[in-house]
């Protein structure tokens, strides 16, 4: 049986090429890939690096739920969700999502749904490290 989901948390750099190799198949016509990258600034303030922490078993369970919802909502073929933990420098990739489908609309819709929902429900936390301090994102009103 070919697995249709590939959901993992890594403490080492994500491999974009091997993720794309995994998502491609002779049945698919369109693949949408979302790559989150560490930006050098947030709200005009220079970011030095980010640190990601995950409640791993629950984060995996929540990502599996999101993938299941996406399969129910759109005719997609495979879903890959890879998330980093640990310290990431500017330009590194905290999250990689790839969705394949016979037709592109489903791949686009599902990929966007997955990243939007992941940011709302998956227990992973990002600390922004600035030159003069650090802050857990979204913790305070």
């Amino acid at each position: 049986m070919t697995l249709t989901t590939n959901i993992q948390i890594f403490s080492s750099p994500l491999n974009i090429q091997s993720s794309i190799d995994w998502i491609m198949s002779p049945e698919s016509g369109g693949i949408d890939v979302f790559i989150g990258t560490v930006r050098n600034a947030t709200k005009g303030k220079r970011v030095i690096r980010l640190e990601f922490e995950a409640y791993e078993p629950m984060a995996i369970a929540e990502m599996e739920k999101i993938a299941k919802q996406a399969f129910e909502k759109w005719p997609v073929q495979k879903i890959l969700i890879h998330h980093r933990t640990g310290i990431l420098e500017v330009g590194e990739v905290p999250v990689l999502i790839a969705v394949s489908a016979a037709h592109r609309a489903a791949a686009f819709d599902a990929c966007r749904f997955i990243i939007d929902t992941l940011k709302q429900t998956v227990p992973i936390w990002k600390k922004e490290i600035f030159e003069d301090g650090e802050v857990w994102v979204a913790a305070h009103p």
Partner: protein
Amino acid sequence: MKIKILAFGIAKDIFGTPSVNLELTNDATVYNLKYLLEQRYPRLKQLASYMVAVNNEYALPGDNLHERDEIAIIPPVSGG
């Protein structure tokens, strides 16, 4: 009953440790747990919000807690 509570993100900073043990009555709910934690760690109340997870699932305030449950404090998530 004695339960162990995992803390993540800013909750870990507030607790000063990745897990704490708490003594609760056997009929304790998520609501009771939050009340006790906020008494012991008033900074919890300054969070935008926080959730409690029981056995890797988001829990509701009325849910009961059990001795071997895996309890976690989930401050606002910010992955992605």
